[in-house]
């Protein structure tokens, strides 16, 4: 079919310039990664159709002369035929393509974290003041023995006889979620690596290999293995504190990764160990994993290659039968299971998958924790919960629902300036995060944003200490899986049952 250049799709946003304030410094032209602005000889011109409302231009306009406003010329309102649906119909009729988006779903599904309330102490079992009493957030991820054997030395002191399986030590129960070099820039990865080292937590390479510049951060890195095996070799497996097998991702359960060839420049090629310009295709099925037994085979292939010194994590998306799936993964020998809820982010996913597949992390977590306890294997693996952890409150609730730690992805990018415009897949990110264009990447200073990430996680950690103190517990361990400390509000009986919590007031 020949393609008509005429499009029905009107600009979603307008980049409005106040020409009385504008001093024609052209900073907006430099800053916009989308090419919205140009100089028309005597004034700045804006091509509204290119604007992503990413916020870069007005943040850096010295005169405050730019406003990004929603295009008032709306598509006629209709509760059934909503604007995004109509626009996608036009978009697809014009291109014949699968619609691709970045970030997590924009749908207004019920957010269960916002319907869960935390308990606090009053009078009896008094609360603890975290400002003057120790409050333990240290978390160990990995398999825990079901019993401990002790010996006694000649002085009668106990000596641990049980050999502890390998653990990841976190100073606070946060990790940075997996984001590959390719999906994000190297500077964005470096910012997380610097913060992870300062905080005593870990970041995750995603399936994009380990860039030479990140090798010194090995003690704060989880390396990932997915179906494309990009940059995976023996030394890579041994370069971090743990290895993660990626099966699924919350934003796109059942869908793989695909970094288009135009993003595979020299440096990414070197890191992924593939030629420049070829597509990096990493399909969802591993093609050598068709059963729990096959997964076990890969888990132990990695354990052999790392001489049983690294915990092996398996990352899956939260889907309908998640409890049974995680039970299988734990029995396959995983030391950590990373569960990613349906509102988790992505560098690129078919919009139809992002918006319609998977289940909320809160429900998945509650069901998984319950199932593993029933089966008596909860100690066999740690659980990392992910899928838009937006605040320390979300983190506390996730831990009380059964997680050992939570992963931060989108929130970390927001620290770096991300305005969640959802166009990560285009590679034009004005903030230098989800782009490989050198002039854009350069503006993201890893030191500056490493410090801001440190600040955020420190602040959230202090908030968790406050919450723990209010609850009268002095360690995050004491809250883990403690659903009795949670109550639901505005939830149905079915929802309360799935979450395993009582309604507020009961």
């Amino acid at each position: 079919m020949t393609k008509s250049s005429f499009s029905n799709i009107q600009s979603e946003y307008l980049a409005v310039i106040d020409h009385n304030k504008c001093v024609r410094c052209k900073r907006c032209i430099q800053n916009c990664g989308w090419g919205t602005y140009s100089f028309g000889g005597d004034k700045i011109l804006a091509d509204h159709s290119k604007c992503a409302a990413c916020g870069r231009c007005y943040t850096y306009c010295p005169e405050g002369a730019i406003s990004i406003i929603k295009n008032p010329t709306v598509i006629r309102e209709n509760a059934n035929w909503q604007e995004p649906l109509v626009k996608n119909i036009w978009r697809q009729s014009e291109t014949g393509g699968i619609v691709i988006s970045g970030m997590g779903t924009t749908f207004k599904y019920k957010k269960y974290f916002d319907h869960i309330l935390l308990d606090a102490c009053q009078v009896t079992n008094p609360s603890i003041d975290p400002l003057r009493e120790p409050m333990e957030l240290r978390t160990y991820l990995g398999k825990k023995p079901s019993k401990l054997d002790l010996d006694f030395d000649e002085k009668g002191e106990p000596v641990l006889k049980t050999k502890m399986p390998p653990q990841i030590e976190l100073q606070t129960p946060f990790v940075f979620g997996a984001m590959s070099y390719g999906s994000i820039s190297l500077n964005a990865q470096k910012a997380m690596a610097l913060a992870a080292r300062a905080l005593g937590i870990v970041m995750n390479t995603g399936e994009g290999g380990l860039h030479d510049d990140l090798v010194p951060f090995g003690k704060n890195i989880i390396v990932q293995v997915a179906s494309g095996r990009f940059g995976v070799h023996r030394d890579y497996l041994n370069s971090g504190v743990a290895v993660e097998i990626k099966i699924g991702q919350g934003a796109k359960p059942g869908i793989g990764g695909h970094l288009p060839g135009e993003k595979i420049g020299i440096d990414i090629s070197r890191t992924r160990m593939i030629p420049v310009g070829t597509d990096a295709i990493s399909p969802a099925p591993h093609h050598d994993i068709y059963s729990i037994e096959d997964l076990r085979q890969l888990i132990y292939a990695i354990k052999e290659a790392t001489e049983y010194e690294k915990p092996v994590s398996v990352k899956v998306a939260a889907v309908h039968n998640i409890a049974a799936i995680v039970s299988g993964i734990v029995r396959a020998g995983a030391d950590i299971v990373y569960i990613d809820g349906y509102s988790g982010g992505t560098g690129a996913a078919p919009t139809v998958i992002r918006d319609h597949v998977g289940i909320p992390i809160e429900l998945a977590l509650a069901q998984v924790d319950e199932r593993l306890r029933e089966e008596g294997i909860r100690n066999e693996a740690s659980i990392i919960a992910a899928g838009s952890i937006r605040s320390s409150a979300d983190a506390v609730k996730a831990i009380a629902l059964g997680a050992d730690a939570v992963a931060i992805g989108t929130a970390a990018l927001i620290v770096m300036g991300c305005h969640v415009c959802g166009k990560c897949n285009t590679g034009n990110c004005s903030w230098g995060i989800t782009t490989q264009r050198p002039e854009l990447v350069r503006r993201l200073d890893p030191e500056v944003y490493g410090e801001r990430l440190y600040n955020l996680i420190s602040a959230w950690s202090h908030e968790i200490q406050e919450v723990l103190g209010a609850m009268g517990v002095n360690s995050i361990e004491s809250l883990r899986g403690s659903r009795e400390r949670l109550r639901g509000i505005e939830l149905t009986d079915a929802e309360l049952k799935a979450l395993g919590i009582k309604h507020a007031g009961l």
């Binding site: 996608n88 978009r91 697809q92 014009e94 291109t95 014949g96 393509g97 699968i98 619609v99 691709i100 988006s101 179906s227 494309g228 095996r229 995976v232 070799h233 023996r234 030394d235 497996l237 695909h258 288009p260 060839g261 090629s269 160990m273 593939i274 030629p275 310009g277 070829t278 597509d279 295709i281 399909p283 093609h287 050598d288 085979q297 132990y300 292939a301 990695i302 052999e304 290659a305 790392t306 001489e307 078919p350 919009t351 959802g422 166009k423 897949n425 285009t426």
Partner: protein, 247 residues
């Protein structure tokens, strides 16, 4: 030199002994009575390490291997050379499914047949060129998502027909080269790759590897050259570029 009697031994112990031997400077291993032990040679290093395996090794033989040579004097099972980076695996018999998954370097020579999913996700990178040569036949999903490297399918016992009795051959292929000794109608298999006659450069390239293969199994090189070679290469390094539109 080190000889290990693997009879009744768990793979964990066997592989520990091999790793320990390599760490102590052993260059040549003989492993006797191998009976299905997984992961032999998993993640080991050393270009001058040679391991002779008598018996039938289990799955993931030479996974993540980086340099050594493994010789199997029998059949092998599934996942031979999984994500192998360098080295050589010689199999004097048949191999199971999924040979050379995501393999990035080194050579795998199979005297007999191999199962399904041979060479999927195989990748080449700079001077690293993975090569798989199969003396016999292969199953379906051959070279699926192949992204680099070379696979040679000899079909030494095949008849003279121009048919290849497999499905999903080279689907999703976007890099690398496959050589076969049949002028098949490739359009029946995949739109993503095409069949051509080989040129002098291809012939020169093949000669070195085929000679190595022939010598490894005492096959006459004339036998291998009895039929002409054809090559299959992808039509595009970006097979799915046209599928998407941005929201």
């Amino acid at each position: 030199m080190m000889t290990i009697d693997a009879a009744g031994m768990h793979y964990k112990e066997l592989n520990r002994l091999i790793r320990e031997g390599i760490a102590n400077g052993v260059k040549k291993f003989f492993i006797e009575n191998v009976n299905g032990q997984y992961y032999i040679g998993d993640g080991i290093k050393g270009d001058d390490v040679v391991i002779n395996i008598n018996g039938t090794p289990g799955n993931d033989l030479g996974a993540f291997m980086d340099g050594p040579t493994l010789t199997v004097n029998n059949n092998a099972q599934d996942n031979v050379g999984n994500t192998m980076n360098a080295g050589k695996i010689i199999i004097n018999g048949d191999a199971g499914d999924v040979v050379g998954y995501g393999m990035r370097g080194g050579r795998i020579f199979i005297r007999g047949n191999a199962g399904y999913r041979v060479g999927i996700h195989m990748k080449g990178y700079n001077e690293q060129l993975p090569v798989i040569i199969i003396g016999g036949k292969v199953g379906s999903f051959f070279a699926e998502y192949m992204a680099g490297g070379v696979i040679v399918l000899l079909g030494l016992e095949d008849d003279d027909s121009d048919e290849l009795d497999i499905d999903y051959f080279a689907s999703g292929m976007h890099g690398g080269t496959i050589f076969i000794r049949k002028k098949i109608d490739f359009s029946k298999f995949s739109n993503e790759a095409e069949l051509y006659e080989i040129d002098d450069k291809d012939a020169d390239f093949l000669k070195e590897y085929l000679t190595d293969f022939a010598n490894s199994f005492n096959i006459s090189i004339e036998e291998i050259y009895k039929k002409p070679f054809y090559k299959i290469v992808p039509s595009s390094a970006r097979p799915y570029a046209h599928l998407y539109t941005s929201a």
